[in-house]
Symmetry: C2
Subunit: 468 residues, 2 copies
């Protein structure tokens, strides 16, 4: 209805042939978004939320007592922030827990090593010679049986990057290394942490063991400890002892916690933003992912405080147990598959608290102009439109794979892997100004999507493919 | 004999009235020192020594098995580096050890806290409400009995400084805080680490309990944990549980390990340089004080390789158990008191591995010109002469108190308290170029003192006072 005059006003009549299908954002909404942006930059709700979560709950490993407290915290926080609908949806998953971990070099150079068990590792004590591999490929190239009774040590050093791109290698070492080591006969697996810091704080994270293999104790060394073990191994045969007390312990149920700001004209259509509520147990989950919870909760809150709420609802999801396998995201997608078309678009904040520097959506052609309008509204925040980049955040990805259109607000992750999955992931690492920039970006983005005339292409995958 | 012509040559006849007593350094030695300086800057012996000590021995808490290995390592290293006399002198002290430490917040905000026992703390488990004090003075001002059954938490945040000057406050909190807390009735003592970092790595260090007091478990929180506990305490009454397994366990004997480059004309006169061989148990003792051991060993080694050794001997001492009470320095002073006058001067490197930026000696007036000559030879290393500053390093101080003249080569300690007494004190924190600058400075300094015509005023304190 409003679209054709708008396009005419914008001088876009050259594309008017597509007018009836093209999604556009009304100018009044763009104006309101600019006000929202400035208001968000001056607001400290995001900081207050992450301060509250990290201080009052602290570490919240999925399935733990603290995780249950975090669920209650999130419900209370949504209500306190003015979300008019707040509910929970159960998520059940295998429960893993860490009870203790210790390692030491044996023999002439005896000394302790700082390690942390990888999530999913079994308990166990292993003693054996360390076999050093420069990277995962070197381990995979080792002869069959060559590691029998030994401990594989994959020494790959991740490089820092704004987009965190080398997590590709660091993460692969963690996820594939243990199984590769077992195939060669190894009794244990050690890796240089998938991290870019230089502190005695190892990085945990989930690993998986391939079907048919018997899992072995698997852990990460802090970066300085990896340096040390590499130096020792270079001197000659080096044996270590590693004792992990950890493992799977039945099933646990946690919850996706959901808060909604109800839309004024299309309340059943939603813009989905979110982050994950769980954290690893070593730190207080500030950058992973308290920041994301805070950014999206604060963005929803600020939209809810506007004089006129947007046409569609803003749904903020604090996902359960992302860390051990996207359990919350998978559960959300399964539960809401029937409502896929009611979801305009989804975006997750799960890459720390650094400034957002780039934006895109996975919307099809008929919503590119609207995507560009959003990009223009984000530009004053120092955010570039990156039309060929991006993808779904982890908890959005299961739904995105089924057809949900993703939004992508890329955070500067230059220091993210200094902190990721370590004890050092604490509140002091968050810059309140950068956090506010994130809140402003999410608020503007979610509001404009909610105000758009037309959709962003979310549709069950088969339909989506057919329509293009 | 050589002094008067030298002074004439230098145009310093205005001070020639003092010529017969004034200490000066021959020009030939100044020239040789310039060559030594350049050679040292290009040499990697210092790096190799600290790499060897931190890698092969690692943590070496005084009295531990690793400490004994460090003694053997130091003897072997002195020999390998060409020191022509190598010997050990026993040092006996009470042995303290750490076996475990854990703390957690109790109640609604339950979560773990990262702590480390202060050296000298008794074992014990205490549970109680935390009472927050901004600093030591606030604790000392608390009413008598006001902490009965509670845990004092002194929250002083040390500031970074090139000269480490705020260790005055951080160190005082650690050394005096526990006794002050006990006097108010406290069942336990917690402090924000005496550190300037922001990592989950608490700083240990020795504490003492005043006579007549019953020691209580005493520990330091990492800086982020102190932030966290302060936030929790600000929210309302906060109780914690702290369990320390540590304590004194009889006597141990370790050794001052000494290497000497024998002087060519006055072999019984020595220039004393050194560092301490022991470390705390958390890190590998790289900046505290593997660097100092490496700097002084490498300086002695390079002097020993000169075509013509200096007139006096260069004595390098790797002191035993500095950390728990300057035991090695006290033992050295006691054993060598009769040879005090044979010691030209003493200097210890025990402030990390940062570049040296200032120099001075505690020499009396008759050796100021020689001190200035040394300063001039150090200037190309970016070292300023600071005639009103300085003092004896820790292990030199007991001997200095008895009359040994100190040399002072001030290191840039801007980041020293990021690492000091933490698990993060590891090799990767040392800049090889800065280390080489230290070696060059110590080599030049020790060589020129050893070549001086005249003394630097070392004399038993009563005599020294009488002569000024």
């Amino acid at each position: 209805m409003r679209l054709v005059p708008l396009l005419l006003a914008l001088g876009l009549t050259g594309t008017a042939f597509a007018a009836e299908r093209e999604t556009r954002i009304p100018e009044a909404a763009v104006t309101a978004a600019a006000q929202l942006r400035e208001q968000a930059l001056a607001d400290n709700t995001g900081w207050n939320v992450v301060e509250s979560l990290t201080t009052e709950i602290g570490p919240r490993l999925a399935g733990s007592e603290a995780d249950a407290r975090a669920v209650a915290w999130a419900q209370a926080k949504f209500k306190a922030l003015g979300f008019d609908k707040v509910w929970i949806e159960p998520v059940t998953f295998p429960k893993w827990e860490r009870r203790g971990e210790i390692a030491s070099v044996l023999g002439a150079y005896a000394q302790p090593l700082t390690i942390t068990a990888l999530g999913g590792s079994p308990a166990g004590t292993v003693e054996g010679e360390v076999v050093h591999f420069a990277d995962l490929a070197a381990l995979e190239a080792a002869p069959e049986g060559s590691l029998t009774g030994k401990i594989a040590f994959v020494d790959y050093q991740m490089k820092a990057a704004r987009d965190g791109s080398d997590y590709r290698n660091g993460g692969a070492t963690r996820s594939k290394g243990p199984s590769a080591a077992i195939r060669k006969g190894a009794a244990g697996f050690l890796m240089r942490s998938a991290g870019t810091d230089s502190h005695r704080l190892p990085h945990t994270g989930i690993t998986r063991f391939d079907e048919g293999l018997t899992p072995v104790p698997s852990a990460a060394l802090s970066v300085p400890d990896a340096n040390q073990l590499a130096r020792l191994a270079a001197r000659g045969p080096t044996s270590i002892r590693m004792a992990l007390d950890c493992g799977w312990d039945g099933q646990a149920t946690s919850y996706n916690v959901i808060g909604e700001i109800t839309g004024r004209t299309k309340p059943d259509e939603v813009v989905l933003i979110g982050a994950h509520l769980d954290s690893w147990d070593l730190g207080t989950g500030a950058v992973d992912d308290g920041a994301g919870v805070a950014i999206t909760m604060a963005a929803g809150h600020l939209i809810g405080k506007m004089k006129q709420p947007p046409e569609r609802s803003i749904r903020v999801v604090a996902f359960a147990n992302e860390e051990q396998g996207l359990h919350g995201g998978i559960a959300y997608a399964a539960k809401h598959m029937g409502d896929l078309r009611k979801h305009q678009l989804g975006a997750e904040s799960d890459f720390g608290a650094g400034r957002i520097y780039a934006f895109n959506t996975g919307a099809p052609a008929h919503a590119r102009a609207a995507t560009e309008q959003i990009a223009k509204a984000l530009a004053p925040l120092g955010i570039e439109y990156a039309p060929d980049q991006g993808g779904a955040g982890p908890d959005i990805s299961p739904f995105s794979a089924k057809g949900l259109t993703w939004g992508w607000l890329a955070q500067d992750g230059s220091d993210y892997f200094d902190l990721h999955h370590t004890a050092d992931d604490t509140l002091d690492k968050i810059d309140p100004k950068a956090l506010a920039q994130n809140v402003a970006a999410y608020a503007v983005f979610a509001y404009l999507v909610a105000e758009a005339d037309g959709d962003f292409g979310s549709a069950p995958r088969a339909d989506a493919a057919a329509s293009e």
